[in-house]
């Protein structure tokens, strides 16, 4: 039995039945990481000692639950007590957090085994993981290509069998676009569904942590383990977690009304992506769903609204990196003032994309421009939300391609910020609205994975799993295997 090829469900069952120990499972994944991560670079930090200690606790019966003993990788934006957290930035290099994020804490308490921290675009700003200060992650399907971003490390870790599960965060698509281009499942839960406590803030009104997995059911189990009300996050929703696991198991779309968003197809989407998407939509009809076209006219303005709102919030959030409380300090020679030291530290500690967004956000918030940019973007956000709520009076879920194209070559869009920003075309509307959305594998184009996006009303995360589960099962039948089975073997 190759322990790294099992799903999370199979792994948990094998551990629970005593067929394998959690320590054996952890060792198998640490070995896999040692063998392939030199080529993939999904991890920024591997915590072998901590993983084996946690696995031993599961084997000793101290921790139990549906995912007890299952390894998980955490995006390096979630703070982890005693384990370095860099957010992909030099400014936090070497910082060891004194506490755990709520997500970290919940997963540990549920017996999951944290393998380490995954690579990401610095402060989650990017769509390719090339903006990591520690070098890019490579797509396991083709090591010369990007794994998506900002959570490329989490997606690549799952796709390369380094971990069956990973946690990502999604501000404008950073879970879903990497899932799409690596042939994995990625979910952005309803905003407020998963605690943001201990998640290093990029854009607080949009940031949301969620699961990355190889199957829809595995994602649902991780979703359930991390979600739920947290008094330490004042935006956390005080309501029961939607029944995502039950929905993933039922996986039935009979009678479900599915809307294809007219504004998220056609222009700007690669032909191969569009073809796979259209096939999946036809398949949903075969499976008993009622499919119709839906128009969301303001989605065309989601991208510009997002690139005003997110940088504005970032310019404020990142002010905390002041060279005093954590991380880097540069130029403190006793002669320079606090302001000079702060400015030198931030100039050296932040990378080019982060600086670009801080300055852009500062501009959008400055007097004289505020109403035309930030204020107008917030109004457009209201109109985008209305497009969603109007659409959901006639359909249960919306669908679109998750990413406009397949994984592009490393370096291809690095010098063209706007081209990079357009990767988030389809994923951004759900962040602005706050509703949940999923990317599920839809097939291949040019030998590379394509993702289908499902979007649902707020707190109806279960609907994503209903559709994703049904589609996954039907495509699996058609292909005779999961999509990832057609990924090339990595040299070991």
């Amino acid at each position: 039995m190759n322990l790294t090829r099992l799903t999370a469900v199979q792994t948990a069952a094998a551990i629970a039945s005593g067929e394998v120990s959690a320590v054996e499972v952890a060792r198998a994944h640490l070995d896999r990481i040692a063998a392939v991560d030199g080529a993939v670079h999904a991890f920024l930090h591997v915590d072998a000692e901590g993983a084996l200690a946690q696995a031993a606790r599961v084997d000793a019966g101290e921790l139990s639950g549906p995912l007890a003993g299952v390894p998980v990788a955490l995006k390096d934006v979630l703070v982890t007590k005693g384990i370095p957290t860099t957010v992909g930035s030099r400014i936090l290099e070497g910082w060891v957090p004194p506490y755990d994020a709520t997500v970290t804490e919940r997963l540990k308490a549920a017996g999951l085994v944290v393998l380490g921290k995954t690579n990401m675009d610095e402060f989650a700003m990017g769509s390719s993981t090339e903006h990591s200060a520690y070098g890019p992650t490579h797509n396991p399907w083709d090591l010369t290509r990007i794994p998506g971003g900002s959570g490329g490390g989490s997606a690549a870790a799952v796709a390369s069998y380094e971990a069956p599960l990973a946690v990502g965060t999604d501000t404008g698509g950073s879970i879903r676009q990497p899932a799409a281009v690596t042939g994995t499942v990625g979910v952005k839960p309803t905003y407020g569904g998963v605690s943001r406590y201990g998640l290093v803030a990029f854009s607080s009104s949009l940031d949301q942590a969620g699961p990355c997995a190889r199957t829809v059911l595995d994602a649902a189990l991780l979703h359930e383990a991390m979600a739920g009300h947290d008094p330490r996050d004042s935006t956390s929703i005080d309501a029961p977690v939607p029944p995502v696991v039950e929905a993933a198991r039922r996986a039935d779309v009979t009678g479900l009304r599915v809307g294809v968003v007219r504004e998220l197809t056609g222009d700007g989407y690669e032909a191969g992506v569009q073809e796979r998407f259209d096939e999946c939509v036809a398949l949903l009809t075969e499976l008993g769903a009622t499919v119709s076209q839906v128009s969301c006219p303001h989605f065309a303005y989601a991208l510009p609204a997002y690139y005003l709102i997110a940088p504005s919030e970032a310019s404020s959030n990142l002010a905390r990196f002041d060279s005093v409380r954590y991380g880097l300090r540069v130029g403190d020679d006793g002669a320079r003032s606090l302001e000079e030291v702060m400015s030198l530290t931030r100039a050296q500690g932040f990378g080019v994309e982060v600086k670009r967004r801080i300055v852009l956000g500062t501009y959008a918030l400055s007097s004289g421009y505020y109403d035309a940019y930030y204020g107008q973007a917030q109004k457009v956000r209201t109109l985008i939300t209305r497009d969603f709520t109007d659409a959901f009076t006639s359909v249960d879920v919306l669908v679109s391609p998750a990413s406009p194209g397949v994984a592009f070559p490393l370096g291809a869009k690095l010098d063209d910020p706007l081209a990079m920003y357009r990767q988030d075309l389809a994923t951004i509307p759900s962040n602005l609205y706050g509703g949940p959305a999923m990317s599920v594998p839809a097939g291949l184009s040019e030998g590379l994975p394509v993702g289908l996006q499902v979007m649902a009303p707020t707190m109806r995360d279960d609907l994503l799993y209903l559709v994703g589960g049904a589609l996954e099962a039907a495509l699996h039948d058609r292909w005779g295997s999961p999509l990832l089975a057609s990924a090339p073997e990595l040299e070991v």
Binding site: S234, T235, P304, R325, Y326, R356, Y373, K379, T385
Partner: protein, 99 residues
């Protein structure tokens, strides 16, 4: 619409506490101009005039808790992550001009 000058970028960098060199300022001015032209499209949304702005995705009300002392992070553990600490405090560069 936008035509952002190098001087404006230098001012914004100062406000953002970023000590950017001349090359960075030139590069940023050119890129920001392109980005701002693209995002300025939102001015075309004419039906936004009477729409209330959204500040948050889900309606949130102030969340309060009883004002009682509860355990918080250990001081030494927090200071261990600081670039410089002294006598149980964060040490900062001078904030007043020297005599």
């Amino acid at each position: 619409m936008p035509e952002i000058t190098r001087e404006q970028v230098a001012h914004l960098a100062r406000l953002s506490r970023l000590a950017l060199d001349d090359d960075e300022l030139d590069g940023l001015a050119a890129q920001l101009d392109v980005i701002l032209v693209a995002v300025a499209q939102i001015s075309q949304v004419t039906d936004a005039a009477d729409v209330p702005p959204t500040t948050h995705a889900v309606p949130v009300e102030n969340v309060t808790r009883p004002d009682v002392v509860a355990p918080s992070l250990d001081r030494d553990a927090v200071l261990a992550g600081a670039p410089y600490a002294e006598d149980g405090r964060f040490r900062v560069p001078r904030i007043l001009d020297a005599e």
